[in-house]
């Protein structure tokens, strides 16, 4: 009898996880969305909604890149520091080094991609876990940001540069367009291209991918480079929106970004998941942050809540694996 009961429970759990994979995150998002709307009247105000999706975009473009890296079975903790460093470089070109719009956009993007490349190169060639490599990079580029800025934020961007973070195209903020563009492009790349399929293959079984003649190292380095580049893009958006290169920019972003990806159903073990889940995950994290703000919850509590959400999401993924039919 107990065996049968256990079997039944397993079946129920399996059904739940299949359901959760399809619509669970979306449902959770809608529930949270309506809940905050009911609790605080200003939540649904268009200005607030615009504010939320702008904030989500800044985290979201990084989360798109992080989806690739986590699908590979990797991780990157340096994204927040890349945001700060590329942001301060952009601000430097805007304010101190001649004010060229072109350079203040292109150089930070290249630097972001370059740091991502280093993350990938060092962890694959050196056979080091990306966790430790990117932890080091996180410290290096936070320090480098302070060095470049000489301890002070750099403020006062040109109107053209300000468009990146604060501009609107019709009723839609420009960063939101950038973010959605990234999501759609990434969705196509992951589902339909050879590159995307190899990302899944490597994350699913790196050894088998290698034996099948897939250039595993090359694809890993590419994914980290892409993530660095997108972190640079986020740095541009943030600097433009704040009208300032801030020393603490991007601090703690790695948690929000990783949370978005994991809540979105991408497995930390790699090989399974996708970028549309990440979109919902980023929205969920953004709405929770904003809702708690509006409710006047202290930032300390927000950190605690987000931490709990991340651990819960990872636990759910573990359970999912345990109760899957084999």
């Amino acid at each position: 009898m107990p065996v049968l009961a256990e079997e039944r429970a397993t079946q129920v759990l399996q059904k739940f996880f299949v359901f959760w994979d399809r619509v669970g995150i979306l449902l959770a998002f809608i529930v949270v969305f309506i809940m905050f709307g009911a609790l605080t009247p200003v939540f649904f105000h268009p200005i607030n909604i615009l504010n939320v999706i702008r904030q989500v975009s800044i985290i979201g473009v990084i989360a798109v890149g992080m989806t690739f890296v986590i699908l590979l079975g990797g991780i990157d903790l340096s994204v927040g520091s890349i945001v700060a460093f590329t942001g301060i470089i952009a601000a430097g070109f805007q304010v101190k080094w001649g004010g060229s719009l072109f350079l203040s956009i292109v150089v930070p993007l290249l630097i972001g991609g370059g740091i991502g490349f280093l993350n990938g190169f060092i962890s694959t060639k050196g056979k080091l876990h990306p966790f430790i490599v990117t932890l080091g990079m996180m410290s290096i580029f936070r320090g480098a940001t302070l060095l470049v800025a000489q301890g002070k934020p750099i403020s006062g961007m040109s109107p053209a540069f300000r468009f990146i973070g604060a501009g609107m195209i019709g009723p839609i903020p420009f960063p939101v367009i950038l973010f959605l563009g990234c999501v759609i492009a990434a969705g196509i790349v992951l589902k339909r291209t050879v590159f995307g399929r190899y990302i899944y293959a490597i994350g699913g079984n790196e050894e088998a991918a290698l034996l099948s003649g897939i250039m595993v190292e090359r694809y890993k380095i590419s994914a980290f480079t892409l993530l660095g580049f997108l972190s640079g893009m986020s740095g541009l958006i943030l600097t433009s929106r704040l009208n300032s290169g801030e020393l603490v920019a991007g601090q703690g972003y790695e948690l929000d970004v990783i949370a978005s990806v994991v809540i979105g159903g991408t497995s930390l073990m790699g090989g399974e998941g996708g970028v549309y889940g990440t979109l919902i995950g980023a929205l969920l994290i953004g709405v929770v942050s904003n809702g708690l703000n509006l409710l006047g919850v202290q930032p300390y509590w927000q950190m605690i809540v987000k931490g709990i959400i991340v651990i819960f999401a990872v636990l759910l993924d573990r359970l999912k694996r345990r109760f899957r039919t084999t």
Binding site: A208, A209, L211
Partner: protein, 254 residues
């Protein structure tokens, strides 16, 4: 005609003086190994004798510590599975090398996805599914769920998939590392038939097996490894299962 006579008189693949050391482990020591056109070679030996290591050197997974490889008489270096495939060497790995999280067509074409469009980066998913279905049907392999992850397949189904997916690529040398290990009687028979058919089609086959019945069923020649050394190389017609078993365990132990 002449070319064919010439070809069959000389090995398609020759390994000379191959040694492979993993740190202090001497997995292979000074092994010579030949494969002739349209020949089925059985590679036998106890666990850890070096069989998988030898075929992985041929497949470009490992580089030999010492020794040389000749393909159709020419010295070659096989640096990667890619190089081996380019020479027409296909391998079914003992560990199968499937991506458990991906579906059957994805595994079937792993590393060799057909592309469409001018950019050459988009995967031709429909061709993948169609070709997978066709090849599996031709081989008599029945897989119930083509579109769900391979982890839902049974051990035997996975093994059948791993064997099936090396078939369409026109390999000249097909290597199978314990292809019947997870298979029942009927399925094993099917794989042995497949090996014989490959030979008829002009392929050479290297097959690793612990099953003497299977070995004597299909092989033209039997090569025995013990402790990383080649201790036997016999035409099937000139040996017996008893003799091979003695070579495998070392005659002094009987």
């Amino acid at each position: 005609m002449e070319a064919k006579v010439f070809a069959s008189s000389q090995p398609i693949l020759s390994l000379r003086g191959i040694s492979k050391y993993f740190g202090g482990v001497h997995a292979l020591e000074d092994v010579d190994f030949d494969v002739y056109p349209q020949e089925i070679v059985a590679l036998v030996g106890d666990n850890g004798a070096g069989k998988s290591t030898l075929v992985k050197i041929i497949a470009g997974v490992h580089r030999p510590t010492k020794g040389h490889i000749f393909f159709q008489g020419q010295p070659v270096e096989i640096h990667s599975p890619h190089d081996a495939q380019a020479l027409g060497i296909e391998i079914v790995y003992q560990e199968l090398a499937l991506i458990e999280t991906r579906d059957v067509p994805a595994n079937f074409f792993l590393g060799r996805e057909p592309v469409k469009g001018r950019l050459g980066i988009f995967v031709d998913r429909r061709k993948m599914v169609e070709d997978t279905v066709r090849t599996l049907r031709e081989l008599g392999i029945e897989l119930p769920y083509l579109r769900s992850p391979v982890r839902y397949l049974s051990g035997g189904q996975r093994q059948a998939l791993a064997i099936g997916r090396v078939m369409p690529w026109g390999g000249k040398i097909i290597i199978m590392d314990e292809p019947t290990a997870a298979l029942g009687v009927k399925e094993s028979r099917r794989v042995l038939d497949l090996i014989l058919r490959l030979k008829e089609k002009g392929c050479s086959v290297i097959v690793i097996s612990h099953n003497m019945r299977h070995v004597f069923n299909v092989a033209d020649r039997i090569v025995v490894l013990r402790g990383g050394r080649k201790v036997g190389d016999k035409k099937k017609s000139e040996t017996t299962p008893d003799e091979i078993v003695k070579l495998i365990v070392g005659a002094d132990m009987l």
